[in-house]
Each structure stands twice: as structure tokens, then as C-alpha cells.
């Protein structure tokens, strides 16, 4: 499933970052290994950042067509309008 893959990828990247951090924090590591984990950590950070960038605070609305299909449109939320709107739990 697509959404499942998406989730594990971010968590995988975060785990990679954690592993690199933990490795760098252990006392006896060789220079080679330090560098390897340094690079791995940077790659993990970039992966995480790519995911975070996909969440950009986009608001969309699904509109039902007369045929019963749904189309997505960008929704401009006017918070004043929402507050001024019905507050009677409809």
C-alpha cells in the first residue's frame, strides 16, 4: 500500500539518523567509521527533510459531483468566516 510505504520511509530515515548519532556518540570509533556514519547521517537528514517538505499545510476540499464522484479543490480557509459562521453544532 502506498501510504504504508510512505510512513515507513520517514521512520526508516529517522532510525538511520538515530543509528548514526548513537554510533558517533560511542567512544571508540575509527576515523573511517566516523566519516561513514557522518555521511549516512547527512543522507538520513536529507531524506527526513524531503518528507517534511511534503507536509506543507495544504488545505483541500472534496466536492461531490452530481454523478457521485469526488473532485479535489484547493480550499481557502478564512478563519474569520469560520468563526462568524454557524456555531450551532450543525
Amino acid at each position: 500500500m502506498a501510504e504504508k510505504r510512505k510512513r515507513t520511509t520517514f521512520e526508516d530515515a529517522l532510525q538511520q539518523l538515530e543509528a548514526s548519532v548513537r554510533f558517533l556518540e560511542t567512544e571508540e570509533v575509527s576515523l573511517d567509521d566516523s566519516l561513514k556514519h557522518f555521511e549516512q547521517g547527512i543522507r538520513a537528514v536529507e531524506k527526513c527533510r524531503r518528507h517534511l517538505n511534503r507536509a506543507e499545510g495544504k488545505i483541500q476540499k472534496l466536492l461531490e459531483t452530481p454523478a457521485g464522484d469526488f473532485i479535489k479543490e484547493t480550499m481557502n480557509v478564512d478563519i474569520e468566516d469560520l468563526i462568524g459562521g454557524q456555531k450551532d453544532f450543525e
Binding site: E11, L17, L31, K61, I83
Partner: protein, 414 residues
Amino acid sequence: MNSSHGSDLFFDPPALRSIPYSVSEINSGIAAVLKNAGEVLFVTGEVVSIKEAASGHVFLRLSDTASYIPAVIWRWARQGIEHLPTEGDTINLIALLRVYERGGYYQLDIRNLWNAGAGDMRRLLQKRKEKLEQDGLFDEKRKKAIPDYIETVGVITAERSAAFHDIYSTLKAGASLVNIIFAPAPVQGERAPEKLKNALEALMGDSAVDIIIIGRGGGARDDLMAFNDEDLVRCAARSTVPIISAVGHEIDNTLLDLAADYRTATPTAAAELIVSKISGLELLYQEYIQRFALMARERLRRKFQEFYTLSSSAALANYIKRSVRMKDRVADQKSRLIRSFDRELAREVDTLKELEHRLDRANPLNILKQGYALVLDSRNNTVTTSDDIKENDRLTLRFRAGSATARIENVIRG
């Protein structure tokens, strides 16, 4: 007001009257008409809601499932009534039909009542609940966990509603970067169950959606019937996307609450749950970034120092003396290594700084700067509900700067 022109109408038509009626005149006129409808009425109906006001008056809504009528037991009339009914009871009653003139509606003024057993609506719901339970729809083990990483939230509630406003503003305040897909649907009325189900199916089929909130603000029990619809409940149970039911109410659970993966008492609480999940993960990410940057600098600096120390040690000096060529090679390697390290380090540290900076700007955790705190349990899990803690638990409160430990004195279940 009463026609004196031989008309059958109670109110005069505009042709016979140049001054408009006031609202009060209309209501008192209708009250006068209804008074003539019958002195004392014998009525049966199911109590769909009952509320005792501070004044001692009791307000009810009665139904025969097709239609509703408000009713009242005035404080002075209560003395003659042995037991007040509860929601779902069918009652027989003696009442007068009266207009509440200030509110402009009619109601039954109850003088006496008797319980006549469980109402149809309650029996129907109970039967449906048992059936769905037998089919395993409410099994805890079937329920999905709220994902830790949430990019997009699907929201189903009424358009232009307080519920959507609450969800939207809570998500925006706590996790401004989360995407929202809003599928509006009526939450009460005849078409509500079908429209809610269509919206739910549309969001379930959208691969971008990580979690769905479906709900409405508080209402009396009769207003929540759409959330007891069998098709809707079965549809929710089929979902591969986790669902939070957020139907605001105080007494009973709706069947959707029981089938959903998670239930909150209000739409705001559902949004808060999502915010806490996102904040928890973002905080972890932020922490790793900081530790990573620190350790990367520390490690590489220490390695340089080791290298310098080694290159000036007696053993190495002797070795170097033995071969000028070797010395040159080492020196050459050394400077190449340092150059490449310097370059690499400068570049990586720049990248990291830039990432830190961008993350900080985009960080939903800025909410901590507003005085909120993240609550962690002894295993460092985020605490989002009082169900997860008990008295005397030690919790860590995490502030924007620093943290504190706290001991629970008293738990109030949500």
C-alpha cells in the same frame, strides 16, 4: 385579531388589516388557537432526551421515530410524578398542548406520566449493536494504531461547522505543516448516513490520507443517529486508514465510536491527539539533528588531534627519519587529508546549519515556545490521554528549554 368580518380565518388577511402583526401577536394568537385544540391529551412517545434545568423544570424531547415534539414538566408538576423517565424509555402521559410564546414553539405541558418500557429506538440500536459486536466490528485487536508520522489528515464533518473550525484551528496552531483534506457532509437528517459514508469512502481511497477524523459537535442523542447507521459503521470498520471518531456527546457511545480505531469526546480532542503525535516525532527528530551536529564536530576534531599527536610522537619521528621519502609522503597525505577534511567538514556543517535553520523555521514545535509542554512517561512515550497514567506515576515535562519531572496526584479519566 379575531376576524369580525365573518371569515373562517383566525388571523385577518392583509386586505382587512393595514397594521402588520407583531411577532408576539402571532405567537399569542397561535397559543389561543391551540388552547381550543383540546383540553387534556393522552399521548405516548419515546424519550429521546431529558434534561433537568437548575430551575427544577424538566425539559424533554419525545419521538415516535418519525416525528418529534418538545415537552416540559414544570417544577410544581413534578411532585405528582413518581419516577422521571430516562432516555430511551417509552412513556404514556397526560398533557396540555401549549405554545411557549417567547420561543415561538409548541410543546406538551406534562401533568402526569407512566413508564411503558424500553422504546423502539433504543431496542433497535441495542439489536444492531449486538449484531455488529458478533461480527467482530468492535474487537480491540482489529483496531489500528494512530501512525506516528502524519502528513495528511482527512476530515469529515459538516460544512461551515464549529466542529471543522475547531479541528482546523487546533491543527494549524499545533502542526501548521500538516495537510488537510476536508470532505464536508451533513451530520444529521435523512441523507446524512449516506453522505457521511460517501465522504468516508472517498478519503479511504485517497492514498495521501494518513488518518481520518469523522465527527460533529455535541448534540442530544436523537441528533447522533447518523453515527449509528449500520452501513456507515461497517464502512469505517473496513478502512485500512486509521479512523478517529469525534462525536461530541456526554452519555452513550455511538456505534461509530465503538468501531473506530480511536474515539475522542470532541473534534478538538481529535485534532489535539494528532498534534501531539506529530510534535512527539518532530521533537525526536530535532533532538537527533542537534546531537548529530554536535557529535560530528566533536568526533572529527578529536580525530585531528589524535593525528597531530601521533605524527609528532617519537616512534613516528624515528620512522620518518628513516625515510625522507616516507616523510614527504606522510606530510603529503597529511595535508591532503586535512584539506579534504576541512572542505568536507565546512560543506557538511554548512548543510547541517542550513537544515537546522530551515527545520527550526518550519518546526511545529514552536508551540513549546508558547508555553505548552510535552508530557513523557517513564519510557519516553508521549502521554496524550489520562488513560495511560495512574496515580504516583512519574512523568517528564518537556519545555522549550529544559525539562522537569512531576508526580501524578490525581487522574481524571477523559
